[in-house]
Amino acid sequence: MVVLEVRDLRARYSASGPEILKGISFRVEADDFFAIIGPSGAGKSTLIRCINRLVEPSGGEILFFDREVTTLRGRQLRLLRRDIGMIFQEFNLIDRMSVMDNVLSGRLGYTGNLRTLFRAFPRDDIQHALSLLDRVGLLEFVDKRADELSGGQRQRVGIARALMQTPKLLLLDEPTSALDPKISREVMALIKQMATELKVPCLCNIHDVQLAMEFCNKIIGLQDGNKMFDGPTGEMDQAKLNEIYAMEVL
C-alpha cells in the first residue's frame, strides 16, 4: 500500500528566490527503503524536510496515507510529525542530557506539558526506550551524557529516538555523512534491519551512491530540483548515474 505520495512538489526558500524543487512526484510503499540521490544542491534535503514540513513547500501535494498534509497546522501538524520519525546528519541530540532522556524525547509528541516539565514519562515508554537501546547496542550508556559518545554511537541514539515515536515513516537526512565509512555501513545496516523488523518504510537522502545501491530497493535521482530517475535499484546503471551527476563530474 502507498504510504506516501508526492505530487508535483515545489519549494523555494524565499518568495523571490530560485525554485529549489521544480515539481517532484513519486510514491513510497510500505516495504520500501527509498533513496534520494543527486549532486549537492539538487534539493535532496529540501525534499526530505518538506515531508514533515520542516521546510514549507510552495506548491504541489503531499499525501500521507491518503491525507493531504501541506495544509496542516498546529495540533494536526504535530500529530502528523509524531507519526514520522527523522534521523539527522548532525544527529541533533540534546548534548547536555543523558542518552535515556534523548531517546525518551522521541516520545514528546505523546507527552503532555506537565510530564515534559518533570520528565516523568510513563513506565511503558521507559521499557520501550530500554529495549530500543538494547537493540542498537547502547544499553550500558543509558545514563551517559550525549556529548560523551562517539559519532556512530550518537547516531544510534538518534535511531532509537526516531523509532521511539513508533513512526509510520522514517525520514533519513544524510544519516551517515558525518560518520567515517566503516561506521556508516554499520549504521545503515542497523537502520535497514530495524526498519524491516518493525515494518517501517524509509525515505533516505543519501550522498554516497554505493550505500544507496547496497541498502535501498528504490532510487530517485534529483538534479537541480528535477527528478531524473525513479525506479528500482536494479535499473540504475552507470550511464544514468552520469546523467544525474553530470554537474559534479566537472
Partner: protein, 279 residues
C-alpha cells in the same frame, strides 16, 4: 502501535530509575534547601505576600492620582536645565578622569603585562576592586562629607567609580590578547612601556573604545542621581521635591532623568556600533 515494539510477556523487565543514589539525593537536597532558604528570606524580611496584590493596586492608584500629570513646566525652567547641563558635565569629567586613571591601573592589574606580578599586580587589582566594590553613592556621600556640597565631590565620586569599573574591564581585555606580538617585541629588546604601546595597545584599541563608551553610559546614569546626596546635578532637585512631597514635580524630574538616560544610551549604542564596524 506496532505490536513488534511492545515488550512481549515473558521478557524480563529491565530496571531503570531516574532517581540515582547518592547523586539524585544530593541534587534534590540542594534544591530543597534553596527553596527553604528563599522561604525563610520572605519570612525574615517580613514580606507580606498576602497583601502584595493589594499593594500593586494601591500603587496603580497612587501613580494615577498623585503622580499624574507630571509637572513638565517645572523641568523646563532655566535653572533646572542648567543643572541638567551640569549633570552632563559631571558625568563626562568623571568618566574621563576615571578612564585616564584606569588605563595604567588596568595595565598594572593585568596578569600578563603587569610590571611586577608579586607586588604591582595585586596592588593594582586591590585598588581596582576597592573602587568598584564601594557603590558610587557611597563615594558621593563620603566626598560630600569631606569637601562639602557641589559638583567637585560628584566628579570625584564618579571618577573613583569609573576607575574601578573600567579598570577591571581593561585588565581583562589586556589579559585576553594574543601574546605573539608581545613576545616578538620582547625578543627585539623593547622595554615594557614600548611593548605596551606597540604590542598591546593596537590589539585592545577597539575594545577599549567600547569600554570607554560603556563607562560613559554608567557614569551618566549615576550622575543623574548623585545630586540626591548633595553632589551636584539633577538629583538635588529630586531630593528637594521628594522632601517637599511635590509628587507631580518628582514625576516630571524622574521622566526627565529617564528621557536623558535613554538618549545617552541611544547615542552610545550608535557609537559602539560604529566602533564595532571599525574592527
Amino acid at each position: 502501535m506496532n505490536r513488534a515494539m511492545t515488550p512481549q510477556p515473558g521478557t524480563p523487565q529491565r530496571q531503570w530509575r531516574r532517581f540515582k543514589y547518592p547523586g539524585s539525593l544530593i541534587s534534590y537536597g540542594i534544591w530543597l534547601s534553596i527553596l527553604v532558604f528563599f522561604a525563610y528570606t520572605v519570612e525574615y524580611l517580613e514580606i507580606p505576600l498576602d497583601r502584595l496584590l493589594g499593594m500593586f493596586e494601591r500603587m496603580g492608584s497612587t501613580l494615577a492620582n498623585r503622580y499624574y500629570p507630571p509637572d513638565i513646566e517645572y523641568i523646563m525652567d532655566a535653572d533646572y536645565l542648567e543643572y541638567v547641563l551640569e549633570t552632563i558635565q559631571m558625568a563626562y569629567l568623571g568618566a574621563l578622569f576615571g578612564l585616564l586613571a584606569s588605563v595604567p591601573l588596568g595595565w598594572f592589574g593585568s596578569f600578563n603585562m603587569s610590571p611586577s606580578r608579586r607586588y604591582v599586580y595585586p596592588a593594582a587589582r586591590l585598588i581596582t576592586m576597592g573602587c568598584r566594590a564601594v557603590h558610587e553613592m557611597i563615594w558621593a556621600i563620603l566626598f560630600v562629607t569631606i569637601i562639602g556640597f557641589g559638583m567637585l565631590p560628584g566628579v570625584l565620586a564618579l571618577m573613583f567609580f569609573c576607575t574601578g569599573f573600567a579598570g577591571k574591564l581593561f585588565a581583562e581585555e589586556i589579559e585576553a590578547i594574543d601574546m605573539g606580538p608581545v613576545d616578538a617585541m620582547r625578543a627585539s629588546g623593547a622595554n615594557l612601556f614600548q611593548i605596551m604601546l606597540f604590542g598591546v595597545f593596537p590589539q585592545v584599541r577597539v575594545a577599549f573604545t567600547g569600554i570607554a563608551i560603556y563607562t560613559w553610559d554608567v557614569s551618566f546614569r549615576a550622575a543623574t542621581v548623585v545630586g540626591f546626596f548633595g553632589a551636584g546635578g539633577m538629583g538635588w532637585y529630586l531630593k528637594r521635591n521628594i522632601l517637599q512631597i511635590e509628587t507631580e514635580r518628582v514625576a516630571a524630574i524622574l521622566l526627565s532623568i529617564i528621557f536623558l538616560v535613554l538618549i545617552s544610551e541611544a547615542i552610545s549604542a550608535w557609537a559602539r556600533a560604529r566602533v564595532m564596524k571599525m574592527k
